[in-house]
């Protein structure tokens, strides 16, 4: 067996990674109201309970709205920046692209605090879904750029020139050749941004208005021990939804790699 000790270590590490993930559905289907071992009987009561919580539905709708708008904006900003950086040479390219990617390495609380100061103290605007969208777009755009850049980078520049040579206008070549070829990257980055926004808490907690997002709602419930089994059920559903979305994203990303005839180097980021 190759890499014997490393393989054992790797499996141990995977157990460490999956420990909380495995516990989530276990407690979601557990009859007991206390989150502890030993488990009691099997129940779907907590899932049924979820259907009756009005505040939860509001938070869910709010979060989905925020995630949709965030993902759309991030992908548009991402396309602009990724295309500009992979296709054109322009002055101050390094510093400009660097500044755009900064939110990726900035502590999220700094993003949250600085937007809060501007919105509340400087502009004196009310906090709302849009303030959360502003913050989420800021942190999602670098992810979109990272994914889209590799999609644009893989393209042979001659493809675009060939289309122009065969009679297309610049815009026509972009629309008919470039966009179809990077569309898997666009779908993948949209789904990733959607998922990040849906799960983001630190920024949302600062910037959310009267209507909480789903994570902010969950945070408020964690203080009440009786609400926790239902939260576990909710988390289980969210995990399943995330996995479906990510599988679709991964499928599109791979199809994109195949489409331009590249070799799959595996994984996001």
């Amino acid at each position: 067996m190759k890499g014997g000790w490393l393989r054992i270590y790797a499996i141990g590490y995977l157990v460490f990674l999956y420990l909380p993930v495995v516990l989530l559905p276990m407690f979601a289907f557990n009859e007991g109201t206390v989150i502890a071992f030993p488990l009691k009987g099997f129940t779907t009561e907590w899932f049924v309970q979820l259907a009756g919580i009005e505040a939860l539905h509001g938070a869910l709708l709010n979060s989905v709205f925020i995630a949709l708008v965030t993902a759309s904006l991030s992908v548009i900003f991402g396309i602009c920046a990724a295309r500009a950086s992979t296709r054109f040479r322009f002055p101050f390219k390094g510093p400009i692209m660097g500044a755009i990617m900064v939110p990726l390495v900035l502590p999220e609380i700094i993003v949250a605090v600085s937007l809060l100061v501007v919105v509340v103290q400087v502009l004196d605007l009310p906090l709302s879904a849009w303030t959360v969208i502003a913050g989420h777009t800021l942190i999602c755009t670098p992810f979109a750029i990272a994914i889209l850049s590799s999609a644009f980078q893989g393209l042979d520049q001659s493809l675009e020139e060939a289309a122009v040579d065969l009679g297309e206008t610049r815009w026509g070549a972009f629309k008919n050749i470039i966009l179809p070829l990077v569309s898997p990257g666009i779908v993948a980055s949209f789904l990733i941004c959607f998922t990040i926004s849906l799960d983001e808490f630190i920024i949302a907690f600062f910037l959310t208005g009267a209507e909480p997002t789903l994570p902010v709602y969950i945070w408020s419930q964690l203080r009440f021990p009786t609400k926790i089994p239902a939260v576990m059920a909710l988390g289980t559903l969210m995990l399943v939804a995330s996995l479906i979305i990510l599988s679709v994203a991964e499928y599109y990303r791979r199809r994109g790699v195949e489409r331009v005839g590249g070799k799959d180097s595996g994984g996001f980021l």
Binding site: K2, G3, L6, Y9, A10, Y13, L14, F16, L17, L19, P20, V21, L23, L24, F37, P38, I76, C80, A81, A84, S85, R87, F88, F90, P91, A99, I100, P103, L106, P107, E108, I109, I110, V113, S114, V117, V118, Q121, V122, A134, G135, L138, T141, D199, E200, F201, I202, F206, P215, I218, G235, L239, L243, L246, R254, D264, G266, G267, F268, L269
Partner: protein
Amino acid sequence: MGVRTIATRLDSDAKRGLLLVSPTAVYVLLLLAAPLAAVVTFSFWTQDFLTIDRSFTLDNYREAFTDPLYRVLMIRSLVISGIVTVVTVVLAFPIAYFVSFYVPPERKALWIFLITIPFWTSYLLRVFLWKVILGFNGVLNSGLISLGLIDEPITFILYNANAVVITLAHAFAPFTILPIYVALEKIDRSLLEASRDLGENRVTTFFRVTLPLAMPGVIAATLIVFIPTIGDYVTPRLVGGPNGLMIANMIQTQFLKLNNAPMGATLAVLAMCAVTAISLIFVLMNRRYLR
């Protein structure tokens, strides 16, 4: 005339690029650069309940440096972030190495996918579940007791810095494994064979060839863990207990509970400066690997 035509030509390509990048650049300028400037400005002001005093003062900074509470929090934050970073990177490196060197190429994508899945569970719930695992009658303790390894629940792993380190090491796992993995994948395998051919054994080859070439990935991983960790207030709040609280918790409290935005801004600026300074020193120390 020659010079003028050159200038206009340069412009046409550059103009297109600048035009295309401008929506994104303007967004970042308006929603990141301007707000950061506002935070810095605020840190020089003071607030009394709801009214802001806009006269320039260094009082906040004086207080931040003299009040032992702030100092303790800041030092603890940096220490915890540092420990988290070291633990996470050291734990992650063998995994990246294993996937890159021992997993057959067609199964690498699957392994990477497996590693990233837990990351997509709700962050809040992951942290909460660590609390359940590490708790007094949590999963770990009941497991160890039923195995007969311990008689009484162990308590040094919840509501302190240890719990924060474990939880964050878990949260940042994929962020560390991926950059190291990418760097390892880029290493030309014939370099390792060349090293063996020139008389080094597996271990010395690792330290003389593999590790130096993987350093860009290790450095990226280190920064990706260290910087955001400073800004986390969820983990310390849920599993850290009173002695595990960090500077981000204080920033949050200043802004949302005490209504002292200027003090919060000051702490945020200081945290940012500390993180930037440490990161820069770290990168400079390792710059020979980054050529």
